[in-house]
Amino acid sequence: MNGYDFTLAGARVTALPSGGLWWADARLLAVSDLHLGKSERMARRGGALLPPYDTAETLSRLEDDIAATAPATVICLGDSFDDDTAARALPDWAATRLTALMAGRRWIWITGNHDPGPTGLAGTHLAEAREGPLTFRHIADPDAPLPGEVSGHYHPKTCLTLRGRRITRRCLLTDGQRAILPAYGAYTGGLACTAPVLDALMGPRAVAILLGTPPVPVPMRV
């Protein structure tokens, strides 16, 4: 597995190049902020007509990760759809691909701020899910009992300047207590991990794992 291994609340987990989190011992794959149907939603709201291929691209990333890891459980950490209508308006071909992915495994949809209602798709719909020492929710809770929280929502990214080169990458943030996953969806922007809200959530030894092949860890506060 071309990932970066680290320990979260005692669990050995792996940050994948795609931005997913793989927990081999539990055979659990977590992905966050797929934002399926984003281009359709923007068009529906009278915005620009973006290339309508984001859903296909995001699903093919998910297919690759699932083929590589063969998880027993998949947790989508919220904002899986860009809004509730996007979930209902999912084209047939996309629903078919999603159903094929869900077949033969447990699938949990965590509620996000973009997709608060039930999606109408199979799988379990939960506000949060607990698996062993880990709790999965969409937005990190500053008052959550630690260690062991996995969340998404913020789309963290990191900018580094190295020998005059500026490198910007999506990243997974972790301090061993919490993990904040990057956005997995194709059409997603990022929030710099220097943002005060992220700084407040993460402990002093926080690391940003920059996505790439392989992912590379740097201190979150460089």
Partner: protein, 801 residues
């Protein structure tokens, strides 16, 4: 010759003035449908454009719009309004003149739509906006004449495409409309005429007496220019001396960053406290307005400026123009020189200040060209189709249209006469449905066909978004710079977001001639305090970079070859001799390639003399081939004469990298995936309406919601490689930024005669390249290598390893 209308004849007589012959000729050709006047600055060109209007309107004109005047600069419209109001008042004409730009208040715009003035002064963007309103036919009813000022400048960019599409629209609304273009001296007036005239009609060209030859020389500074670098700061004492000996001096620089650095040092040396100001496009509007007012009032002895002062605003009595840095293009040099001595019969006086020794050669070559009257110019490419997409949407905002009618109208615009129906239909399909192979938006199309087969907006509310997006100027993402505290502090100007991102608190940089200290970023505003002691970092402002013209590059190579360097100052001749001894001098029919190590990296320098854009493309192609060969290139920088590449491994066989058919294969494969294409894509996608412009309010709402245009580009190339936006991106990149034609011409000339000179250290000719801005990173294996190294070090330093 027609008799002059008495009010005009009397006015000239009362002032004791006689009309310039070309002003008279313009009056005689009042009825000509399309007319181009080419005249030097100061030749009463603008008055020549308006005289026929004043003659036709007469003392008691009926209400209604008669003449539309379009200029590239907002400031120019205000200037013209002032200058026109004097003769109108003195001739006692009951003519109303108003301007309408992005700065015009909403109430006044509404009034202008209800009750248009006789003469309306505006910009291409404001015209496009007015034409997008449903009542455009009523606003422009009865329009007789349109005057396009500084048309040579507009023709150089997509603003010219937009304007000519607008004029084609106007011509449909007002079939008898007559067009006048006013231009500075250009190399090919008939081509500019074809740009202006409604196709297939011809354009008559009037050429005014060019006046006496300019008095132009290289400034003798007593000290040689530096080996490398830009900005000409070594010449400051000599320049101050010239400023003191003239009434008003314009000091032109090629980039804003150079103007800033120069101005800063000029002030430190200005012990006599001569009133000198700075003016460029990155400064806040207030700061620019102050300088313009002081200039008009004759309070300034000199202005340090960039292209923002190129255009013909009459800002006082300029008697000397100083060009700092190589002029790049003889035509632009001649136009800048024309800014001095705004009196028709006095020769313009200009001094060239080369910024480094290479530019000495270029300045000497340019002087020879000016004296020989040898103007250069590249032919203008066909009209940009991203602008056409925008025009189609704007036309739909004004009302329903038939595709056949719009196609016929668009192909009457000079830049679009060669547009095929298929090309047009692809743009229409893009505007209507997004134009994707996957028809995903049937329910959400922007344009739908009604029962009569006319295209109209699906949702009339989208007209607002279309109007917000009008215009063809796409800026880099810029951030405002303010003195702390942000609420009370005055805005100083703006810097590129990418530059701001490299700052850490305590860093200093220059803006508006002051050294400021970076304090932090708050709500998308760069907060600074005054810094005094430390050496500033250079602000990397966006600034148009022009490529040295082919003709000027050939003159430079001819100078090298001549071996007779008596026209050059001794220091420059010595420098060339040193280069000849340590390496070789480039020649026209061979290609010089040097390799040398420096600061832990390996460097490769190719002297193609193909102009900045082509040299940049060469850099992209060579680094791609180096990446494939495992040479781990890190980045490159291109100038008009050379490309410098650096990487982690040495290049031992450059001739192999430069094989022409392999380069062409690389070019075909490369076009899809590189930084220049992505930058071009972003610009075109914004103009065409695929990406909405980032207004400050939107960006503040949260960065998570916005994502990079690169993602859209990558998605399209992967899933929809035949999409029209990729075609347009390719067309646009080929025109300017890519310029592959000049590489092919160079390689064809060289025919494999490549001279590889390995050197132990940087060569005299390569040295200036290390100070060039605009370095382009190569995102390849080297990046991962750097990241791995840094990660280990940083984790260890933080005690996290």
């Amino acid at each position: 010759m027609h008799a002059l209308p008495p009010h005009i004849a009397d006015w000239f007589a009362a002032r004791g003035w006689s009309m310039h012959p070309h002003q008279r000729a313009m009056l005689d050709r009042t009825a000509t449908p399309a007319l181009l006047l080419v005249a030097p600055t100061g030749g009463g060109k603008t008055l020549a454009g308006f005289l026929p209007t004043l003659a036709e309107l007469g003392p008691k004109p009926p209400p209604g719009l008669h003449t539309l005047y379009i200029s590239p600069l907002k400031a120019l419209t205000a200037d013209i309004r002032r200058n026109l109001s004097a003769p109108i008042a003195e001739m006692a004409l009951d003519i109303r003149v108003e301007d309408r730009t992005g700065d015009t208040p909403q109430t006044q715009r509404r009034r202008q739509r209800a009750d248009p003035p006789h003469i309306l002064l505006t910009t291409p963007e404001s015209l496009a906006l007015m034409l997008s309103y449903e009542d455009a036919p009523r606003i422009f009813a009865g329009l007789k004449r349109v005057i396009v000022d500084e048309i040579h400048a507009l023709a150089e960019s997509k603003r010219g495409d937009q304007l000519m599409l607008g004029l084609a629209r106007l011509q449909t609304l007002c079939p008898g409309l007559r067009r006048v273009g006013l231009s500075a001296t250009v190399d090919d007036p008939p081509a500019l005429g074809r740009f202006l005239a409604p196709h297939p009609h011809a354009c008559e060209v009037l050429t005014a007496d060019p006046g006496p030859a300019p008095d132009i020389a290289m400034l003798d500074t007593g000290t040689p220019p530096p080996w490398a670098g830009g900005g000409g700061r070594y010449a400051i004492p000599a320049i101050l001396n010239q400023v003191a000996r003239h009434r008003t001096t314009l000091i032109f620089h090629n980039t804003r960053a150079q103007a800033e650095l120069f101005f800063h040092d000029l002030w430190l040396a200005n012990t006599d406290s001569l009133p000198i100001a700075i003016h460029h496009g990155s400064l806040s509007r207030d700061a620019r307005a102050k300088v313009e007012a002081a200039m008009a009032a004759g309070q300034l002895r000199a202005v340090v400026c960039t292209g923002s002062l190129d255009l013909g605003i009459d800002w006082g009595d300029v008697d000397l123009v100083i060009q700092v840095g190589a002029p790049k293009n003889v035509k632009r040099l001649v136009q800048r020189i024309g800014r001095a001595n705004h009196r028709y019969n006095a020769p313009s006086k200009a001094l060239l200040v080369p910024a480094n020794r290479f530019e000495v050669v270029e300045c000497v070559a340019a002087l020879q060209a000016v004296r020989a009257g040898d103007l250069d110019g590249e032919p203008r490419g066909p009209g940009a189709r991203d602008v056409l997409c925008q025009h189609i949407l704007a036309t739909a905002a004004a009302g329903p249209f038939h595709a056949d009618d719009l196609f016929a109208e668009v192909t009457r615009a000079g830049p679009y006469t060669g547009l095929t129906r298929a090309q047009f239909d692809a743009c229409l399909d893009f505007a209507a449905t997004g134009g994707y192979a996957l028809r995903a938006y049937d329910r959400w199309q922007r344009l739908m066909q009604d029962d009569h087969g006319r295209w109209r907006l699906r949702d009339p509310r989208s007209a607002r978004a279309i109007r917000m997006n009008l215009g063809t100027i796409v800026e880099e993402e810029m951030l405002k710079v303010r003195l702390k505290p942000a609420r009370a502090g005055a805005p100083l100007g703006q810097v590129e977001e990418a530059f701001a991102a490299t700052l850490t608190p305590g860093d200093t940089f220059l803006i508006g001639g002051q050294v400021v200290r970076y304090e932090g970023l708050r709500e998308m505003v760069v907060e600074v305090s005054r810094g005094r002691t430390r050496e500033p970092r250079i602000a990397v402002f966006a600034g148009t970079k022009f490529a040295t013209s082919t003709r000027l590059a050939d003159r430079i190579l001819a100078l090298f070859r001549a071996g007779d360097w008596s026209a050059l100052p001794a220091h420059t001749a010595d420098w060339l001799a040193l280069q000849r001894d340590l390496s070789r001098l480039p020649t026209r029919d061979r290609l010089l390639v040097e390799t040398f190590p420096r600061e832990g990296r390996h460097h490769l320098c190719v002297y193609g003399f193909a102009g900045r854009n082509a040299q940049q493309t060469l850099g992209l192609l060579l680094t791609r081939r180096m990446e494939e060969a495992g040479l781990a290139p890190l980045g490159f920088v291109a100038t008009d004469y050379a490309t410098l590449i650096w990487g982690l491994e040495p290049v031992t066989d450059p001739a192999h990298l430069l094989q022409s058919n392999e380069l062409r294969t690389a070019f075909e494969g490369w076009l899809g995936q590189n930084a220049v294409m992505k930058r071009t894509f972003r610009t075109s996608a914004i103009i065409a309406g695929l990406i909405e412009r980032n207004t400050p309010g939107r960006r503040k709402s949260g960065r998570q919601a916005t994502f990079s245009s690169d993602i859209l580009y990558d998605t399209l190339t992967k899933y929809d490689p035949g999409h029209v936006m990729l075609d347009i991106t390719r067309e646009e990149a080929m025109k300017g930024l890519v310029d592959f034609g000049r590489i092919e011409a160079m390689l064809a000339r060289v025919q494999g005669r490549i001279d590889h000179v390995p050197c132990p250290r940087v060569t005299p000719l390569a040295a200036p390249l290390f100070l060039e801005a605009g370095r382009i990173p190569v995102k390849g294996a080297a990046e991962q290598r750097l990241l791995d190294e840094a990660a280990n070090r940083l984790m260890a330093e933080a005690g996290l390893a």
